[in-house]
Amino acid sequence: GAGVSQSPSNKVTEKGKDVELRCDPISGHTALYWYRQSLGQGLEFLIYFQGNSAPDKSGLPSDRFSAERTGGSVSTLTIQRTQQEDSAVYLCASSLRLNTEAFFGQGTRLTVV
């Protein structure tokens, strides 16, 4: 596709359940980022991937959060045993390289009830 695609657009889940959020980056982009945006707040860095290098996981808030990127393309962010404080918009972005502008998807709004 022409842009970064994220699915689902919205997800409502029960506390304690696991969720998977998907990101399809722009074709040819080697860098991929995940950010979290709580209501009315800025963007909190979670993780980035660059090519075949080890990802920078320094922003993941707890060991309930994990992400993988298969084949250098699609990425999945997994949240295990969701908590209410995990409710937020999760944004994915990709860039041609790490040090260039990032293009964002429309995000997944996660609501934990």
Binding site: Q41, G42, L98
Partner: protein, 117 residues
């Protein structure tokens, strides 16, 4: 570690007027990129303008221009002839050009701009 500060949580401007949004940053890097992103209510983050730190000339994109002061570590965004469609949250962002292990795109907390008719 890099930090980006936007000191104006909210601003408003009348349609057709000019408004300036402030951004300061802190880094020990000598070469980097700075960006302004716009996030309208649709929540789609849109790149507005970018500036390479090694360029002295301020970037301009139509009605949007920046005032980049490298020594002061300041990067403000000027919006001329404001339009209702400019109503959005605006984020300032920084990324090092060759930052070793610290390549993440760092954002400020944003400025909510409202353009009034």
């Amino acid at each position: 570690a890099q930090t980006v500060t936007q000191s104006q949580p909210e601003m408003s401007v009348q349609e057709a007027e000019t408004v300036t949004l402030s951004c300061t940053y802190d880094t020990s890097e000598s070469n980097y990129y700075l960006f302004w992103y716009k996030q309208p209510p649709s929540r789609q983050m849109i790149l507005v303008i970018r500036q390479e730190a090694y360029k002295q000339q301020n970037a301009t994109e139509n009605r949007f221009s920046v005032n980049f002061q490298k020594a002061a570590k300041s990067f403000s965004l000027k919006i001329s002839d404001s339009q209702l469609g400019d109503t959005a949250m605006y984020f300032c962002a920084f990324i090092p050009f060759s930052g070793g292990s610290n390549y993440k795109l760092t954002f400020g907390k944003g400025t909510l701009l409202t353009v009034n008719p």
